[in-house]
């Protein structure tokens, strides 16, 4: 009990200094938690998103990025080949699609068009979506996601001008589903192809029969048809996670600066406190305290600062992450930040490690003092 009392009372007797140090660790940990929570959130959001996707295989032109299909390059001949192979490979649906972005990548101003072949409605690609107004069937017109409608004040019967010649009516508005579909404008493939002057498709989405393996079909397709790559949602998730790992490292690097500053703060506080208490340590040693006792005492003080600052930092970081979530949820319909248990544990471990490293040198210094010098008994 006296050890904890000694540590806590010492921290309390220099309350302003202790508080500032605590604040330093708090800010460092909170910054790290907030930075890292983006990666965790993005990875989680994409995982959920891909889980909501009906077709589990995406066919793209060879060499294109799995995340952003560019200009339509898949010819009707490729579609024909896939359709021919479909019965033999156990494919249920083959859905060619044309993708088009208008207005850059700002979610607030851009329009993301997803083309669908006639007879296919958005619920085939995004199972579970329902119409809030109108219906899901395109019938040559447009069905829009809930957030698209909200952001652009569109409703049933609104007119979408794709070009001076091409106008579409909104015939359906989707219910908010918390998926990518909220941000999309579904139109017939033909309309987008006319707009771009091509007969090609951006991607071909494929749903296997329930009994078939996506992986096997994707492999068979890639081998059978030259110039294409077939990917499963699992592949896509792996790709995304790989890309995120690099950005995680980068964000950790940035937060490392904050962590190092926090660590130096703790080291400074503990070192100052050691110098101020040299006589106390001398007295303890004279009375019969071992060096290891003094070492533990000082290290524990630093660890307590680290643990307390880390826990509070985690709390503040989590609140920050919730704020970011609230913002991105309102703007793009996706919670992009998440403090997962593994991130929380990682942050606490880092804060404790900080305390340990920062306290080691002062603890060593304090434990090696000679009684005679510490008590000024020369």
């Amino acid at each position: 009990m006296e050890i904890l009392a000694l540590i806590l009372r010492n921290l309390r007797s220099h309350s302003v200094r202790s508080l500032l140090t605590l604040l330093g660790i708090l800010v460092a940990t909170a910054a790290m938690v907030l930075f890292m929570s983006f990666g965790e959130g993005l990875s989680r959001a994409l995982g959920t998103e891909l889980g909501h996707l009906g077709p589990s295989i995406e066919v793209l032109p060879q060499g294109s990025s799995p995340l952003g299909p560019s200009y339509p390059e898949l010819s009707p001949a490729v579609l024909k080949q896939i359709q021919t192979l479909a019965p033999r490979l156990g494919i249920q649906h083959v859905i060619p699609t044309v993708l088009l972005t208008r207005g850059g990548f700002n979610f607030n101003t851009a329009f993301f068009f997803e083309g669908l072949p006639s007879g296919v409605n958005p619920a085939t690609v995004y199972p579970g979506v329902e119409a809030a107004q109108g219906h899901l069937h395109l019938h040559g017109q447009a069905v829009i996601g809930a957030l698209v409608a909200q952001r652009n004040a569109l409703q049933l019967g609104s007119l979408l001008r794709l070009s001076p010649q091409i106008h579409l009516n909104v015939v359906g508005v989707l219910k908010n589903s918390g998926t990518l579909a909220d941000n999309l404008v579904f139109v017939p493939n033909r309309v987008l192809q006319n707009l771009m002057g091509t007969n090609n498709f951006s991607a071909i989405l494929i749903s296997p029969q329930p009994s078939e393996s996506s992986q096997a079909i994707a492999q068979a397709l890639s081998q059978a048809i030259p110039g294409i790559q077939a990917q499963t949602t699992g592949d896509l998730l792996k790709f995304v996670n790989k890309a995120l790992a690099i950005s995680n490292l980068f964000r950790f690097g940035i937060s490392l600066v904050a962590l190092i500053v926090g660590g130096l703060l703790v080291a400074n506080t503990v070192m100052m406190s050691v110098y101020e208490r040299i006589r106390e340590f001398g007295l303890m040693r004279a009375i019969g305290a071992r060096r290891s006792f003094i070492f533990r005492l000082v290290l524990l003080e630093s660890l307590i600062l680290g643990a307390l600052g880390g826990a509070l930092g985690l709390l503040v970081g989590t609140l920050g992450s919730l704020g970011v979530d609230w913002y991105t949820q309102a703007r793009v319909g996706l919670p992009l930040s998440a403090v997962t248990p593994r991130l929380a544990l990682f942050a606490l471990a880092i804060a404790l490690l900080l305390g340990l490293i920062a306290g080691f040198w002062p603890a060593r210094t304090a434990s090696r003092l000679s009684v005679v010098q510490a008590l000024e008994r020369l």
Partner: protein, 237 residues
């Protein structure tokens, strides 16, 4: 055999810049339990150096300090830092002139501190600390921080702490140096009482009047023992 703390041919030299200073030279003496020994001399005579060596705070350049008990004889120079700390904890108690108490601990916690180091249970050290504070006349000050105690009270708390693990030898370095005469003689009485309990008391002071209350006086000058005297006022055992 009664426990004895024995100094044999102790010499302590320091280097100060280029020159060498001999703080203590060829000091030999036996300190027995049941006896108060006062070491007197002007400042710079080597009193503190001698106490540092006897307590194992410091090691001699030559000679050795032996602690002889019924069970064993140990030479302090042959022990590691940690072993010397353990030896001090269990066989020695200390009262200094200043820096005596841990400022963030209350009076009873200060008294209980050595017991905590020795692994005594919380309940027991709580009870023993209270009993010791009663013995030095401060039961009502148990929960006060040192900053709330007078100089005399602080010294009495320090004495209670020095007695916490009932050590064989009690070292007191100018224990009444900062006190008025009433508080001083109160502390001195408590010290003398320890000798009656078969404990050895080694008192370092430059106050000759105080020293004359001891059973034996050792005079130090320039690091050397210059005289020895049995006190007439008290009857040695």
């Amino acid at each position: 055999m009664n426990p004895v703390l024995e100094a044999r041919q102790l010499t302590r030299r320091y280097l100060q810049g280029e020159s060498e200073i001999v703080a203590l030279r060829n000091f030999s003496q036996r300190f027995e339990v049941g006896q108060v020994t006062a070491i007197v001399g002007p400042s710079g005579s080597g009193k503190t150096t001698l106490l540092n060596l006897l307590a194992g705070f410091d090691l001699p350049s030559e000679g050795e300090v032996l602690l002889k008990t019924q069970e064993r004889t140990v030479s302090l120079s042959r022990l590691s830092e940690e072993e010397r700390a353990d030896l001090r904890l269990h066989t020695m108690g200390f009262v200094f002139q200043q820096w005596n108490l841990l400022p963030t601990l209350s009076a009873w916690e200060n008294v209980a501190f050595p017991m905590m180091l020795a692994g005594v249970s919380y309940r027991e050290r709580r009870a023993r600390a209270q009993a010791l504070l009663e013995a030095v006349g401060l039961p009502h000050r148990a929960h006060h921080l040192p900053s709330r105690l007078s100089g005399g009270e602080q010294q009495r708390v320090a004495l209670a702490r020095a007695l916490a693990l009932d050590p064989l030898f009690l070292f007191a370095d100018e224990p009444t140096g900062n006190l008025d005469s009433a508080s001083g003689s109160q502390v001195m009485d408590l010290l003398l009482r320890q000798a009656e309990r078969e404990r050895g008391v080694i008192l370092v002071t430059h106050d000759l009047q105080l020293a004359r209350m001891a059973h034996r006086l050792l005079y130090l000058r320039d690091g050397q023992l210059t005289g020895e005297e049995e006190s007439k006022r008290l009857n040695p055992r």
